[in-house]
Symmetry: C2
Subunit: 232 residues, 2 copies
């Protein structure tokens, strides 16, 4: 999908506050890469997933061009988040090394289906295996490799009780990995009252579950702030 010199970039934006998970509230720039090996039923970034859309819309950028765009947005923001699609389907080793030379720290958002050696260089690897409501199947052999990274944290989006049971099984499989439960947000169901009610529901499930005491329960702040849309 990529040649050796360029990467398919859907958008570069920021600095913004990371809205979710381990890095919630942190200031970061975002690089969203195109293409994905999954097609989740409730995907909120299909523009970065569907091959026809990515083929039509992605810019092919070199590492230096990506870094120049990031520096133009903000030369001092400490974090760059590599997202997608699934950024791990690409070889981002050169980009990661160049970002480090520039003094940035790197956070990655991936579903944990394609392990890459360059991930070892990244400061924070957020791995979000997809629950049953996504319609996707978990590759546990790959997930085991991600979970063994010292920089790994796990984040499972929960839309319903079956998703919660799945999240629970993931936490029990990897008890030593920091674990985040995240309220699932369907596109078009992003009003504040609905989101807060879901956070309350998910929090109550976890608080009543002795196996889940160490799980951190969070909403998506950017959806609370801006709704479920692009570039935020």
């Amino acid at each position: 999908m990529t040649d050796a010199r360029t990467l398919p970039v859907i958008e570069i934006f920021g600095p913004v506050l990371q809205g979710e998970g381990r890095m919630i509230g942190a200031q970061t720039l975002f690089v969203r890469l195109g293409y994905c090996d999954y097609r989740c039923a409730w995907c909120d970034s299909l523009y970065a997933v569907t091959p026809e859309l990515v083929n039509a819309q992605a810019e092919r950028l070199t590492v230096e061009a990506i870094v120049a765009r990031l520096d133009a947005l903000n030369p001092t923001t400490p974090w760059v988040t590599l997202s997608g699609g699934n950024p791990a389907i690409h070889d981002l080793g050169a980009l990661a090394a160049r970002l480090h030379v520039g003094g940035r720290q790197i956070a990655v958002e991936t579903q944990g289906t394609v392990f890459r050696e360059w991930l070892r260089a990244c400061e924070v690897v957020t791995v979000s295996p997809k629950p049953p409501s996504s319609g996707m199947r978990t590759d546990y052999a790959q997930l085991d490799r991600f979970a063994a990274l010292p920089s790994a944290n796990l984040k499972v989006v929960v839309f319903d009780e079956a998703d919660y049971a799945y999240a629970r099984s993931i936490h029990l499989r990897y008890p030593g990995v920091p674990f985040y439960l995240q309220v699932g947000t369907a596109v078009g169901q992003d009003d504040t009252a609905t989101l807060l009610a879901k956070l309350d529901w998910l929090g109550r499930l976890a608080l009543a579950d002795p196996a889940m005491g160490a799980a951190v329960v969070l909403p998506q702040l950017h959806v609370l702030l801006y709704g479920n849309r692009r570039g935020v």
Copy 2:
């Protein structure tokens, strides 16, 4: 204010999700101790601060009684948060040791005015020096001692631009200490739209400020969920 055997406890509640700061989203029990050396203009817990109210309402509990209440609420919740008032005006060494024996981890919320040796035993010490809008004066000699704790993080509540300038000065004084900017919530101004607008305002200030790139910007989730009230 306390004798050797009992502590003035305002409330013991939980498990709930920690709504703010370094531990946001984490499941915790709360022990709120009475009395405070500050009287912030916008204090949201005066019932734990005003001596007449504390004298009238606080229960005097032994360490074992506190632990029994916590165990009755939930025997497995991994975190206990010691809050106030200012919990650091008390000798909580015996309580901390007993909580550790019971397998709990301890988070402390304090303004950083009274350093105590028992704080060294706690896993997370959240130090929240108060900005100009509080009407209080910062004791930098004490704050220096708190900031030197490996477990310390700093959290400054911001209501206005003068508070932001203060927060900035604190972050610059202790650049190695994880730093959190928190949206100030006035009692009675806790509607969701107002809170989210304030978060947006505070985020924009920090994002535009090269000196504040490493600051994490967060709202109070419990106020978003439940409004500014007791026991949540």
